[in-house]
C-alpha cells in the first residue's frame, strides 16, 4: 500500500509554496529548483490542486501560485485526496468496483478500520503545522550544522 509520487511530490511542493508565501506569488520554477521536482510535473500537480480549491494561479509577468486559503485550513488529507483519490487501503471500500462479497467479507471490517486510522492522521495535520515544524525543527537544525562547518 503506497502513496504515489504524485501525492508525495504534491505535498512537498505545496509545503514549499506555503513556506515562501510571504514573498507573494511563487513561480513554479523556483519550487521546482528547491524541491528537485521537474517543473512540468509540478504544473500537472498544481492544476489538480487548483481545481480542488487548494491553490490559485495569478497570471502575468510576476505571476505564479498562491494558497487559496489559510494554511491552517488546508489539511494533508485534503491534498492527498485531491491528488490520489480517497485514501483507501483496498479499492472495494469505495464500493467501486462493487464486490459480490460485500456484507459477508471476512476482511472488509479490518480494511475499513485501516482507512479510518489513516484518514484520521491525514486530516488532523494542516499545512500550517508542517510549516511550523519545518521552521522550528528542520530549518534551525540545518543552520546549526552550517555553523559548525
Amino acid at each position: 500500500m503506497k502513496i504515489s509520487t504524485k501525492g508525495r511530490y504534491g505535498l512537498e511542493a505545496l509545503v514549499d509554496l506555503a513556506i515562501h508565501s510571504s514573498e507573494g506569488c511563487i513561480n513554479l520554477k523556483s519550487i521546482s529548483e528547491r524541491c528537485g521536482i521537474s517543473e512540468a510535473y509540478i504544473l500537472q500537480i498544481f492544476l489538480i490542486l487548483r481545481r480542488a480549491g487548494i491553490v490559485e494561479s495569478v497570471r502575468g509577468a510576476q505571476g505564479g501560485y498562491v494558497l487559496a486559503k489559510d494554511p491552517s485550513e488546508i489539511t494533508v488529507g485534503d491534498i492527498l485526496t485531491a491528488l490520489e483519490g480517497p485514501l483507501v487501503p483496498v479499492a472495494c471500500i469505495t464500493g467501486n468496483p462493487k464486490c459480490e462479497r460485500y456484507g459477508k467479507c471476512a476482511t472488509y471490517g479490518f480494511w475499513e478500520s485501516v482507512m479510518n486510522a489513516l484518514n484520521e492522521v491525514a486530516y488532523s495535520i494542516t499545512v500550517s503545522d508542517l510549516v511550523e515544524y519545518y521552521k522550528n525543527n528542520i530549518l534551525s537544525k540545518n543552520y546549526e550544522i552550517e555553523y559548525y562547518i
Binding site: 500500500m1 502513496i3 471490517g109 485501516v114 528542520i138
Partner: protein
Amino acid sequence: MKFSTKGRYGLRAMVDLAVYSKGEHVALCSIAERQGISTNYLEQVFSVLRKSGLVKSVKGAQGGYILAEPPSDIKVGRILRALEGPLSVIDDKADNSRDSETGIEQCIKQCVWDKMNEALNELADSVTLEDLVDNYRKLVGMENTMYYI
C-alpha cells in the same frame, strides 16, 4: 494507496483456513472455491505463509494446510508483513532519482508518513486472526465452535 492482491487475498484465505480447519488440514482448492481465488495463486501465497511459519502443510491425498499457531496468537500485522513486506504508506526505495533529502522531505516524513505508518502498524498489530474469524462468523451467521488447534 492500495494493498496488493497478495496481502488482500492472503488475509482472506487465512481467515477462511481458520474458520474451516477445525483441527484438520484444509485443501487449497476448497479455500479457492469458497473465496473465489485461483488455486494457483493461493499456492504462491501459502508458500510464503509457510516460510514465515504461519501455516504448516501436509502432502498427500488428505493433505493441505493448517494454521501453525492458534488464531488468537496470530496478529494481522504479521500476516500482512509476511506477504507485503514492511507496512508503510510510502515506498522508500522508489525515490532514487533525487540524491539528497530536502528539509521539506524530512519535515513531511517526520510529521506525515511516520505518523501514518505508526497508525497503520499499531492497528494491524492490535487485531488478531481470531478477531477476524469471530467477525466473519457473525456476518455469515455461523455458530461459534471450538478451535481444535
